[in-house]
């Protein structure tokens, strides 16, 4: 029983973080067909913003809000500076640009801050543990679950109930038609990057909360996680991305318990091998995205 609870908390907290990561990647992919390699660096930006504000004496929540805001701004700016000028040219050019931009941000952090880990201010809550029905678990896991639930609920609501949300869903299936109804392309794209940045920011704080410090390469692992979860979830479906995040967490957590230490080292090879197989079988991802086919 305690094991089941432990396992559930592990899967839900890891899955919550994964789901948010995947969602942030898919929201941009769905609209622009752009796999944004620089997504992980939004997490990095969050971390360094938090680090730089460490001595400011502001309340932690204010610092966290500023850090998330920085991720949003960076996300939108990346689009303006790097992607917008090449977007019309070719999808490959945009992909290479996003890869280059990711390297640029990482190395800028190496150059201007430091290759060494930097401690970020975290509230005491992040290092405390609680006991629930005999299971001792870090509070930050519960915080992660709560944050994921709240964000996913708000996100789902916004996508269904606000005009902008409906417009974004429409643009993801048929961008040109959406524009032919008067929905401005740039508004949709900037919103997608802003949401992506917001999700990366929140995930960044939760993720860094586990580690306690930030390094230039901090975004790599979340990026890979988001890739896999997205592929599992279907690359064009927002619900799929969320589900993919939780499924991946379930797989990861199970493998942690099941695989021997020897094989555990190859876990990434297994999961990425799985990714390749899934894409071969279904190039659009495991779960179906919104239909593009039209009935006539």
């Amino acid at each position: 029983m305690t094991f089941a609870l432990q396992f559930t908390i592990d899967v839900l907290s890891l899955g919550g973080a994964y789901a948010l990561m995947a969602l942030g990647l898919v929201i941009v992919y769905g609209i622009l067909k752009l796999v944004n390699f620089a997504y992980g660096e939004l997490i990095m930006v969050t971390g360094y913003t938090l680090f730089l504000m460490g001595g400011s004496g502001l309340p932690w929540l204010v610092m966290a809000a500023v850090a998330v805001a920085m991720a949003v701004v960076t996300g939108v700016l990346t689009d303006y500076i790097a992607f917008r000028p090449v977007r019309a040219k070719s999808i490959t050019a945009v992909l290479i640009t996003s890869f280059a931009f990711s390297t640029l941000l990482q190395n800028a952090a190496l150059l201007f801050i430091s290759p060494r880990p930097r401690n970020v201010p975290l509230p005491a809550l992040f290092s405390q543990t609680v006991e629930i029905a005999g299971v001792i678990t870090p509070v930050r896991n519960l915080v992660t679950i709560a944050a994921a639930v709240v964000l996913l609920a708000v996100f789902a609501w916004a996508m269904r109930r606000t005009v902008l949300g409906i417009a974004m869903r429409a643009a993801a299936t048929n961008f040109t038609m959406a524009r032919m109804l008067g929905i401005p392309a740039n508004l949709i794209i900037s919103s997608a990057f802003a949401i992506s940045g917001l999700l990366a920011g929140v995930v960044g704080i939760l993720w860094i909360g586990r580690i306690g410090s930030v390094v230039p390469g901090i975004g790599s692992e979340p990026l890979l996680v988001a890739f896999i979860a997205t592929v599992i979830g279907g690359m064009r479906s927002l619900e799929g991305a969320v589900l993919g995040g939780f499924l991946l967490a379930l797989i990861d957590t199970s493998l942690n318990y099941l695989l021997s230490q020897e094989l555990l080292k190859f876990r990434d090879a297994f999961t990425f091998g799985l990714v390749i197989l899934i894409l071969l079988w279904r190039p659009e991802g495991l779960l179906k995205g919104p239909a593009t086919g039209q009935r006539t």
């Binding site: 280059a100 190496l110 150059l111 690359m235 990434d268 071969l280």
Partner: protein, 342 residues
């Protein structure tokens, strides 16, 4: 035909000129730079063979460089060093010690074989699925290299690889790769593949089996990468799996993108320019560090500049410096134009 020969002669001439300069100068550092340049050139040309002809971005390329490097290392590390360099090596390889000059081509073939076996089904995919799978393949190869300690010594540095690569060898192989890339581009497969790149639907309608064409290019690219990796291993003599990951991918891709992925000329020019710029920036980094102007070590400057250059090229000149015509074709056209005008 003349324009292809002219292209080959001019680009080969660049490499020979480089070797001549290095020999004449006789400075160790320059020799090292020139050798590295030739090895990079082999890798960039390999990537050009696949990307330039198929139009698909591949992230897996550097993974095959790693396969080549480790294969050649396992086959050549001297017997008396094997116990120390690769303590967990499989018994069958314990008694093997080949000449590097034999092991390098074998390494290329092994990389090509691995690519051939893994990649066939992947070639159906285009767009985002193709990019993510090739990226996933790189991660898989990297994870295997990092953890298969029986043949790679795990994440730790593998040392004891005999030094065998010198400038002449690297330059010779680079010229061969150059000819190979040009020949492939003009071969039937290369032409059909380029037709499919420009119009996938029409090429499919002609009954071309595009995945098969792509696969041939991919395997040839892996052959180049494997040989390049082996040469590099025998030059640097010790390395770890991290040498074959995202940073190297970024550098090689940057060279190709800046020069122009669609042409062999672009691959060569990009390699020369980026290597030159890199060495300049690295020495700047070095002198900044030794001058202790900043409290911390200056690192990452070269990558920042390369990334900016890549983005600038993609924005201003998306096809790179040589977007569509080879240097030979450009010269022949210019000459015939002048003839007509006089």
């Amino acid at each position: 035909m003349t324009r292809h020969l002219l292209t080959a002669a001019i680009l080969g001439g660049f490499v020979i000129l480089l070797v001549a300069c290095a020999e004449m100068l006789g400075i160790r550092v320059f020799d090292r730079i020139a050798t590295n340049l030739c090895i990079s050139l082999i890798l960039v040309l390999g990537l050009q063979v696949f990307m330039g002809n198929s139009g698909i971005l591949s992230f897996a390329h550097i993974g095959f460089m790693g396969v080549g490097a480790y294969t050649s290392a396992v086959l050549t590390i001297p017997l008396q060093m094997k116990g120390m360099a690769l303590p967990e090596l499989y018994l069958v390889f314990k008694g093997v010690q080949l000449s590097p000059y034999l092991a390098i081509p074998i390494a290329g073939l092994v990389a090509a074989a691995v690519a051939a076996a893994l990649s066939y089904p992947l070639m159906r995919l285009s767009d985002a699925a193709a990019v993510i799978t090739s990226f996933a393949l790189l991660v898989v190869l990297h994870t295997v290299m990092t953890n298969w300690s029986n043949v790679t010594n795990g994440p730790r540095t593998l040392f004891g690889v005999p030094r065998a690569t010198d400038l002449t060898l690297a330059a010779g192989v680079a010229i061969a790769a150059l000819l190979g890339a040009l020949a492939f581009k003009e071969s039937r497969t290369g032409r059909l593949l380029r037709a499919s790149r420009d119009d996938e639907v029409a090429a499919g309608a002609l009954g071309l089996h595009i995945p098969h064409l792509r696969w041939r290019a991919f395997v040839l690219a892996a052959l180049f990468a494997g040989i390049g990796g082996a040469l590099w291993g025998h030059f640097i003599t010790s390395f770890s799996p991290n040498a074959f990951y995202l940073r190297e991918t970024f550098v090689i891709l940057g060279m190709l993108v800046i020069g122009g992925a669609n042409t062999v000329t672009g691959a060569v020019v990009g390699t020369f320019i980026v290597t030159g710029a890199f060495e300049g920036l690295r020495s700047l980094e070095g002198s900044l560090n030794s001058a202790k102007i900043f409290s911390e070590q200056v690192i990452g400057l070269t990558e920042v500049v390369l990334a900016l250059a890549m983005i600038a090229v993609l924005i201003l000149r998306p096809g790179g410096l040589f977007p569509s015509r080879e240097i030979g074709a450009i010269i022949v056209r210019a000459l015939s134009k002048r003839e007509r005008s006089t």
